[in-house]
Symmetry: D2
Subunit: 130 residues, 4 copies
């Protein structure tokens, strides 16, 4: 995605933290879009079993999208704020991955969505470890 | 706001948790809109001192708005997800309140915004205490 | 909501356009939250008839929320951008109102949501008329 | 991005409209992230000339992101709603492209952002032409 090139122009020098944040942002935006798609496919199946998937996927999209926005910004960061939001995002990705994995055998959208959520959680965790 | 009436129709019975979540949602939506307004007024002042306010207020709006969405939903909740996101929101509100308070004497938008952030943090904390 | 007080501090002088935009913002934020609640209550009813309501209410929330953000900002506005987004929002509110009205007799969440969508559309139209 | 694979699982058959919407969604998500990055880099430069860029880029991100969400969904679409929102998004991309182009020579973030906005507007227009 193009935002990496634009962030590369930022007057503040690059750093490992920035690289981890941009990786996190990329996964968050991929995950948010995947969760919206998963909730939509699941809605169209009108299966009582999938209500929890839909709810959690909508929440996970709502958690990931702003985390991506926040991780893109480099000016005057507040590190506690960023850590708090990324922790919340990791919790959302874990919950969505676990719920989707319960339906992964029968619902391909859930299998794909769980994979993206696991990747996004890993990127959040890697940032939080530093 | 009208969403309370609509949530009142939800087939799941009401509870203390729901009341705390709806209070949280209301404060989150008020806080998100206030942070957008604070960032915008601060931007128009073109004051180097306010760059950090603008950054943190944009982040806080981005954290509060989806927390409001998630707190409104009552179907099939995942409590770890909700707690994680509300904790992230509380961290964002605290950071924004502290930054805005530094400028509250000279910038009325910061004084007002800090108050809303403190209220929103309190509503998040009250939910998290249960 | 508190954002009105904060916008009142903006260095640019107030105007009729600003009053119309702030009214629009208020209705957009109320409508977005109401659509999220309506989609959630409808999801919990697991009724095939309500799939279209859920889809359109999710879309309407997604259209209204950023329109509210844009209408709150007063610095350096681009009037074509604002008009374009408000027109899109009005189209979303109309579609959601009409879909919800089809289910208003049997589903109280739809009756309430349709009312808010009509109000939001009216606020958008009033801005667009100036 | 992964959402294309997930949408490929949707029970409704694919179509030209779907391909155009998914292209539009991809550009919208790229554009939203680019506008956030452009506003952030511009903010850090603290240049009075860039206030309009920041305002319009924030608005454009807010217009593109939900348009991406709406374009991803395939269940029970309301075509007037989708067209209205995509038209608003195209207006936002045009405004942001034009404003960024004014600063493209001196500000690399604006040059890059304008390119993405033009691409996103083209994808919106291509959908609207069908």
């Amino acid at each position: 995605m193009t935002f990496r090139e634009i962030v590369g122009v930022h007057p503040l020098p690059g750093s490992l933290i920035r690289q981890l944040l941009l990786r996190c942002a990329e996964e968050c935006l991929d995950c948010a879009a995947s969760c919206i798609a998963c909730a939509d496919v699941s809605l169209s199946e009108n299966d009582l079993e999938l209500i929890r998937v839909i709810r959690v996927a909508l929440d996970c999209a709502d958690a990931c999208e702003p985390t991506g926005r926040i991780a893109i910004r480099q000016s005057a960061p507040d590190i506690r704020l960023i850590r708090g939001v990324v922790e919340g995002c990791a919790a959302a990705c874990l919950a969505c991955a676990e719920e989707c994995e319960r339906h992964a055998v029968d619902h391909e959208q859930c299998r794909l969505c769980a994979e993206v959520c696991r990747r996004c959680k890993a990127a959040c965790d890697e940032f939080l470890a530093h």
